[in-house]
């Protein structure tokens, strides 16, 4: 908040009444006298103009209303790290503390001290601090050199999100003094890249780095990663990142990568991070992805990409094709998947069917949407999958007899696991989740290839499907022609006789009906009971009714 404006004020992050901004200009703006600061707000609608005033361009903004001119004394340039910690964590001294006296010996003389107690208490409080949260505390710099290291060297976890740090230089100054730093959260800061590089050892203990909403680019991410040799978790949410190059020597220890809400990511960029050796968890929520391909894996093989990936999160995306899950089966280590709120999973009114199809498509999946897949559930899902695609399998050349089985490549690629599910016996090991008590359950997977009767689809219940096409013969009459007629199976014998009587002009009581089937020639079955239907006597299509009188 000083009135003297030095050139290094440009680029600094400041706060005015809760709104954060970056200083872009310092100087005089005629005709009004006095020094002014030109700032670009984080919130693009907060300002009045885009850096120009009365025709002259003083600085540039990305938005037409992104900038303002403010008096320097209205602006908060922030405070240093140590002061911020003291402000937050040191309990205020009560009035009774001031009176405390202690006798200390210097040489031979006893000396009265006043107030030492509270000072020592303060210092011990700070040195015990391991976890520090300074979110929105207007921290802009590290402060006096060595101050932090002396007062609170044991800090392991720092939350410095939404502060006024303007460049990585300041962050490095702070981190240099915290030898045990393991978790660093720098979200919602806009940091410039440093002039030099970090000293080796600055971030040597760092395991978790959070850089959400910092506007960082992929190249900058790789620069940071170079200083953190032991980095295990990296969070990069909402940065509009485009993965532009493959990380070669950096990020090799990373186990968790959060790339959610980066809408510019697409599946081709994912190939660039596919060879990180330790990556176990990948969070891709809300990135707008709709498909994924692992072209290097042939039919029945696993891909070499994402070798350690165990947990994939693809919630809130645009997945609308089943082939997505079919591709995921190629991942060698995938054990858990979360795919809520995608078009494919939203439309389906029977959420159960979706779940079953996903389970059947991905063989080693143990957890879906945070629910464990029990062996019984897997078995039901696989059986249903086998039945659901049975007709397609047949059309693609599938056959119960393994020698005659010649499936098209297209089918094999689209349904990777189908052949596996059809194998006649297979040992199925399903592990229960308790880590130290694994139970191997061997269930002989005798699914076999789908039988024809399983594949018969139910015909819709319409009258025309209920009609039987029958031939009508009159064996005792030589000159009557053979009629072909369609009769409903539910028609009673009485009604058939009635109709025949009207047709042949013979009284009903004289008629004797029987039928024979082409499947069993020579065998005649009498239709004696008038009250029963044709279906009762198992009259089928193409059978022949024999009428005698």
């Amino acid at each position: 908040m000083s009135d003297t404006l030095t050139p290094d004020v440009i680029g600094r992050r400041v706060e005015v009444n809760g709104e954060h901004a970056t200083v872009r200009f310092a100087g005089v703006v005629p005709p009004v006298a006095g020094p002014w600061l030109g700032v670009e707000w984080d919130n693009p609608e907060r300002g009045k103009h885009d850096g120009s005033h009365e025709g002259t361009v003083y600085f540039k903004c990305r938005h037409p209303t992104g900038g303002s001119f403010i008096r320097p004394n209205k602006v908060n340039f922030g405070t240093d790290f140590l002061t911020a910690i003291k402000n937050r964590y040191v309990l205020e001294d009560g009035p009774e503390e001031d009176r405390k006296e202690q006798i200390v010996t210097l040489g031979n003389k006893p000396v009265e001290t006043v107030g030492f107690d509270s000072l020592m208490k303060q210092q011990s409080q700070l040195s015990k601090l391991q976890e520090v949260s300074l979110r929105n505390c207007a921290v802009s710099c590290a402060g006096e050199k060595g101050g932090v290291a002396e007062a609170c060297p044991n800090i392991r976890r720092v939350d410095l999100s939404k502060n006024l740090l303007s460049s990585w230089d300041e962050v490095i100054h702070i981190a240099d003094q915290l030898r045990h730093l393991e978790v660093l959260n720098l979200s919602e800061n806009k940091l410039k890249f440093p002039s030099g590089s970090a000293l080796t050892g600055t971030f040597s203990a760092l395991k978790v780095l959070v850089l959400n909403q910092t506007g960082i680019t992929w190249a900058e991410v790789l620069w940071c990663a170079a200083w953190c040799p032991g980095l295990e978790e990296l969070y990069l949410e909402s940065n509009n990142i485009v993965i532009s190059e493959r990380p070669t020597d950096v990020l090799q220890t990373v186990k968790l990568l959060d790339l959610s809400s980066n809408q510019l990511i697409d599946e081709n960029q994912l190939y660039l991070i596919a060879h990180l050796p330790r990556l176990e968890q990948l969070i891709l929520s809300d990135v707008g992805i709709s498909s994924i391909h692992f072209p290097d894996a042939g039919i029945g093989c696993k891909t070499s990409m994402f070798p350690s990936l165990q947990y994939l999160v693809v919630n809130d995306n645009q997945i609308s094709q089943w082939s997505f899950f079919n591709e995921l089966d190629k991942l060698p280590s995938l054990r858990a998947l979360s795919c809520l709120r995608n078009p494919l999973t939203k439309e389906d009114k029977e959420a159960n069917m979706t779940r079953q199809l996903i389970i059947a498509s991905i063989g080693q999946l143990k957890t879906l949407n945070k629910c464990e897949i029990l062996p019984k559930e897997r078995r039901t899902a696989e059986l249903d999958y086998r039945k659901a695609f049975g007709n397609e399998w047949k059309q693609a050349g599938g056959h119960q007899d393994p020698d005659k089985n010649r499936l098209s490549e297209e089918f094999l690629r689209a349904h990777r696991r189908y052949q596996f599910l059809c194998l006649s016996t297979c040992v199925y090991a399903g592990g229960l989740q308790v880590a130290d008590f694994p139970l191997e359950q061997s269930v002989p997977l005798e699914y076999g290839a789908p039988e024809d009767w399983e594949l018969k689809t139910q015909q819709p219940f319409m009258l025309k499907n209920q009609l039987l096409t029958l031939k009508i013969k009159y064996p005792d009459q030589l000159d009557q022609k053979v009629l072909e007629k369609q009769l409903p199976g539910s028609m009673t014998i009485q009604k058939v006789k009635g109709w025949l009587s009207r047709l042949l002009k013979v009284p009903v009581s004289d008629l004797l009906l029987s039928y024979e089937s082409p499947k069993e020639p020579g065998i005649e079955i009498k239709l004696e009971n008038d009250l029963q239907s044709l279906r009762f006597y198992s009259v089928e299509n193409e059978d022949c009714l024999l009428v005698r009188w």
């Binding site: 937050r88 044991n154 979200s187 809520l340 629910c371």
Partner: protein, 446 residues
């Protein structure tokens, strides 16, 4: 000093207990075999461990061999659930005498749990309780975990509570009860069991914290992205609340809250002792670091119905007392600001006769999450226990269901066969009706 004995009754109580002790062990660095994790190379960690040793004495008893045994008792009238503990991960944590099981279960029947089957086991249970109590220097009280709807949870608990009052009249007894959910039911006769047990236990309990399954299912589905929450997920969430409540007994903190302090501050009249529990923040592990939760954010969240562990609408009632238990990175300044902001909100209405209404506890240990769980690790959390008149809605629902079944005397013969009389049912129902009237009365303005 200040030891607490936990008694876990019935399937619900035991499964919650399993999750609970697992969490306590994680928080205190105790391994599944009872030994404290000792291999810290860092001196600071060691110093911290020594510092906290003295405090977890309230829940763990240290044997001469250096093992830490929980001060807990698991009771059930049939063996299957307890066998799960005997063979499970924590089998070496508990002494075999702490795991008590009968042979014949209560079959969802209060009468069996209380009279026929329960009476056979009660003496053994009391004997073991006495043994555990003798190991304590200064027993503060008991924490009972059970469900209202089951046979053992309802029947056996009421028997046990009566006898505990007889033997340990000056000790506090707090309950953590699973209340039957409004729309999800695990037993048809739940309403009978609940009404009967509430009637017989009310005078023996000092405070009953209720949670219900449906509220927690909804939280798991909406906030944690769990498609089909299992009992394991539900219990894990519930024990976070339990852990927050007992945190000040187990860790030193700037503002500790004792068991007796709960009573004093939350219970305005002896019968009005059913506070509602709420917990914040509830964040999915997939969304770690994405949302920031300041003290004022989490305090406001506690007053939202989506964070409550019981299905009831507090906007329909008035608050009589409120206890906010913060843990983690919380500074007193921020707490004061958050509470001031809450008091000024119109939706949070207090009764006329209780102007201040807030009790605050702060503990610096941040919440621990169980590995493989659904919750994200957060820097700070708050558990709110509020005594609100809106909870009468829960009792009204229950009474209504009871009336429907009782009008037809449906399922009654199962209770009468075990030696109960209809008079007991009527008495219990009258008692609950009186409880509803009591709540209405306290909620009225002058």
């Amino acid at each position: 000093m200040r030891e607490c004995l936990s008694i876990h009754i019935g399937q619900a109580g035991i499964q919650i207990g399993d999750a609970c002790w697992e969490l306590y062990c994680l928080e205190h660095g105790i391994q599944p075999n009872g030994v404290v994790l000792d291999s810290q190379p860092d001196q600071l960690e060691n110093a911290k461990m020594e510092h906290t040793n003295a405090s977890f004495d309230t829940f763990f008893c240290e044997t001469r061999a250096g093992k830490h045994v929980p001060r807990a008792l698991f009771v059930d009238l049939e063996p299957t659930v307890i066998d799960g503990i005997r063979m499970g991960q924590h089998r070496s944590l508990f002494h075999p005498e702490q795991l008590l099981s009968g042979k014949e279960d209560a079959a969802n029947n209060y009468a069996r749990g209380r009279y026929s089957v329960g009476s056979k086991v009660i003496d053994l249970v009391l004997e073991r309780t006495r043994k555990l109590a003798e190991q304590c220097g200064g027993l503060q009280g008991f924490l009972i975990f059970r469900s209202f709807g089951g046979g053992t949870g309802s029947g056996f608990t009421s028997l046990l509570m009566e006898r505990l009052t007889g033997e340990y009249s000056r000790k506090t007894k707090l309950e953590f009860s699973v209340y039957p959910a409004p729309r999800i039911s695990t037993a048809v006769v739940e309403p009978y069991n609940c009404v009967l047990t509430t009637h017989s236990t009310t005078e023996h309990t000092d405070c009953t914290f209720i949670v219900d399954n449906e509220a927690i299912y909804d939280i798991c589905q909406r906030k944690l992205g769990v498609e089909r929450p299992s009992y394991a997920s539900i219990n894990r969430l519930m024990v976070q609340a339990v852990s927050s409540i007992t945190a000040s007994l187990r860790f030193e903190g700037p503002l500790n809250v004792d068991l007796i302090e709960f009573q004093t501050n939350l219970v305005p009249y002896p019968r009005i002792h059913f506070p509602m529990t709420a917990f914040a923040p509830i964040v999915s592990a997939d969304k770690a670091y994405r949302e920031q939760f300041s003290v004022s954010d989490i305090t406001t969240a506690c007053f939202e119905s989506s964070n409550q562990l019981v299905k009831c609408d507090p906007r329909l009632g008035k608050y009589m007392a409120c206890c906010l238990l913060y843990r983690g990175d919380v500074v007193p300044k921020e707490v004061n600001a958050a509470i001031a902001a809450t008091k000024s909100r119109h939706s949070v209405q207090f009764v006329d006769w209780c102007p201040t209404g807030f009790k605050v506890g702060i503990n610096n240990r941040p919440p621990t999450v169980m590995p493989g769980g659904d919750l994200a690790k957060v820097h700070r959390a708050v558990c709110m226990l509020s005594n609100t008149t809106a909870i009468v809605e829960a009792w009204a629902r229950l009474d209504h269901k009871f009336d429907l079944m009782y009008a037809k005397r449906a399922f009654l013969h199962w209770y009468l066969r075990e030696g109960m009389e209809e008079a007991e049912f009527l008495e219990a129902r009258e008692d609950l009706a009186a409880l509803e009237r009591d709540y209405e009365e306290v909620g009225q303005s002058f």
